[in-house]
Amino acid sequence: MSRISLEVGSGGRLMRDFIADRLLPALGNRYLAELSDSGRLPGGIALTTDGYTVDPIVFPGGDIGTLAVNGTVNDLVVAGAKPLYLSLGLIIEEGLETAVLDRLLKSIARAAKRAAVLVVTGDTKVVRRGQADKIYMTTSGVGRIVGSPAPGRLRPGDRLLLTGTLGEHSIAVMAARGEYGLSGRFRSDCAPLNYLLPLWKRGAMWMRDITRGGLATVLSELAERTKHPLLIDEERIPLSRPVRGAAEILGIDPLYLACEGRAVIAARAKDAPGILAALRRDPLGRRAEIIGEVQTKVGRPGELILRTTAGGLRRLEPLTSELLPRIC
């Protein structure tokens, strides 16, 4: 590959290859090498960053501002850190209406308050018309480490939990684009995952927020890190009716759809029921389910296996190339 293709940004295998083949050799150090959502640093702090290029910038259930706060907050939470401070970088296309910008800033303020973080510094650039698509945002986040993910210590019998329904964000953004003639009551699931922080003290051993590439990609990555195959049950995976219908019509598998307010959690079997109960007590976790486990009965090490609704078994592969462009 001599030029960067769109697929490199998709969150799937090509992006992982890009990181392994180009970024790590150029920049690698022991913190970066963990390839975690956040860098865990000396002094008990974690640092993360994310760029936001979603199109359209406003969609049912949120906008690029809410994404910019929640996405970065969530990267800290799942890395075991309590989010504290954000920086905010804005790259604005010349000609953007100030009313639109004000609306986005209000969203950022509301989201920051909800996630209990402060925006403490930032930067603004304006580029010529046509050199950006309305507005791009970058947020970096700093948090205090409160838990330690330990994916390497997962063993057969450990459970996998999903905090809610899949794909709400992807479908809401697709509908907002109006490209596929989709209409329905769609709403992005964009939300801060602070409610998961106490779970680090209740037995959570690993967490990941489900963004580009969907549940299948996130769990495929976990499968590569644990020494045992993972098995999940399609029947236990919560889907809302609108998302299910939209995915059927579009021929897209919901297991690959991105979310912006959902996570997978791994825990010992004895801790899973307590974690499930805690999730369901929060409005954001009402549809939480235990969806699978680490096991050795089916599949080989590194494989993610799905028990289908029909009761059959098949491998679930990570996403290799772009499913949907610019959803976050």
Binding site: P229, E235, R241, G245, R300, G312, L313, R314, R315, E317
Partner: protein, 377 residues
């Protein structure tokens, strides 16, 4: 989706419905000589089978499923793909409209998606032939060509769009057609006798159009049972169970196990539209060679909408597959994707060597995406 449709679908996916069907299939299979090999013709059936993880339980029950040539992108030979690439690269002011899968089929001239368009030309992915006609309305100064591959399911829709274009007097719209009919390649496969089959699972949505009669020769002349089936897991098993019932009773026929969508007589109105605008032709298939009466061409009065005639395109008969690609043998049911040395290693979805790894219904992509636990990646 209505609540009732969802309830039906849920039921047809439920393991409590599927498990007893598998047991019934096993008990019937036990009464028949082995091997029992059923060809599922339609690429979407292949996808459904693998996606629901049913191939291994079926094999345990004694039934082996063989994929057939029912993937329109896959059976379209490279000569047509290269003609489309030539149109885009060599003709200025042309908009080539196409379904997404078609853009990634690799040829000796590269793929459509990486072709450099001529001045003022571009490639546009559409999701329907109507969207392609809309491009022609929107841009009267451009020549719009719709490169459409399909079986009897899709052909009436394209034919209707061409009729509409003619009614509107649209001079800047034409179709580069790759129209394939399902029954002729099945006859060809049976006549070569190179694959030993016990029966056929007939396509669900093609049968909506053509009904049951076109398959009758398979039961009458070749003595093989068959059933038209839907796409949910239980639909597939109901079709397979019916085939085995026919075999056990020694009464091969064409059963209908998808009555909620298919009528025995099919859709005469759709066939009338096809007949009005198209006529049979001998067509060259990837892997199966030239089969008489297996394709459709525009009738003379529609020549202005046939891109091949309009632009004097030369479709190469011998534009071969990429070296090492055995897609043609997969389409004939001769080999499984895993038997190809390139499968999963050199030929992958992000670097396909043939259309069977490009199309969502291609057997190779299906086997890779929905493989069984412990299988080769």
């Amino acid at each position: 989706m209505t609540t009732r449709a969802t309830a039906t679908t849920d039921l047809l996916r439920d393991r409590r419905v599927v498990a007893p069907l598998l047991r019934e299939i096993a008990s019937r299979a036990a009464r028949l000589p082995r091997p029992i090999r059923i060809m599922e013709v339609c690429g979407t059936h292949t996808m459904s089978l693998f996606r629901s993880g049913l191939t291994a339980p079926l094999a345990e029950a004694g039934v082996e499923m063989i994929s057939g040539p029912g993937c329109p992108v896959c059976v379209t030979p490279n000569g047509l793909h290269e003609a489309a690439i030539a149109l885009l690269s060599d003709r200025p002011e042309t908009i080539l409209t196409v379904f997404g899968d078609m853009t990634r089929v690799p040829t000796s001239r590269g793929a459509l998606q990486t072709a450099v368009p001529a001045r003022g030309s571009r490639l546009k992915i559409v999701i329907s032939p109507e969207a392609a006609l809309e491009e022609a309305r929107r841009a009267p100064e451009k020549d719009v060509v719709f490169f459409g591959a399909g079986f009897e399911t899709t052909i009436p829709g394209i034919a209707l769009t061409v009729r509409r274009a003619r009614e509107e007097g649209r001079r800047n719209f034409s179709v580069l057609s790759a129209f394939w009919l399902v029954p002729p390649p099945l006859r060809a496969i049976l006549e070569t006798g190179e694959v030993r089959l016990s029966g056929f699972l007939y396509p669900g949505h093609v049968s909506v159009i053509i009904g049951l009669r076109p398959y009758a020769f398979i039961a009458e002349r070749f003595g093989l049972p068959g059933a038209v089936a839907g796409f949910e897991p239980a639909d597939l098993l109901l079709g397979i169970r019916s085939i085995l019932n026919q075999a056990v009773a020694g009464r091969p026929g064409v059963a209908l196990e998808y009555a909620r969508a298919v009528r025995p007589e099919g859709n005469p109105a759709a066939r009338a539209v096809m007949d009005e605008i198209l006529e049979p032709k001998d067509a060259l298939w990837r892997g199966l060679g030239r089969i008489p009466g297996s394709g459709l061409a525009f009738r003379p009065e529609y020549a202005a909408f046939d891109a091949e005639r309009k632009y004097g395109l030369e479709i190469a008969d011998d534009a071969g597959d990429l070296r090492g690609c055995r897609c043609g043998e997969v389409l004939r049911g001769l080999i499984r994707p895993e038997d190809c040395a390139l499968f999963g290693r050199v030929c992958r979805p992000d670097a396909p060597k043939g259309p069977c790894m490009v199309s969502m219904e291609g057997a190779c992509l299906v086997h890779l995406r929905f493989g069984s636990p412990g299988g080769r990646t």
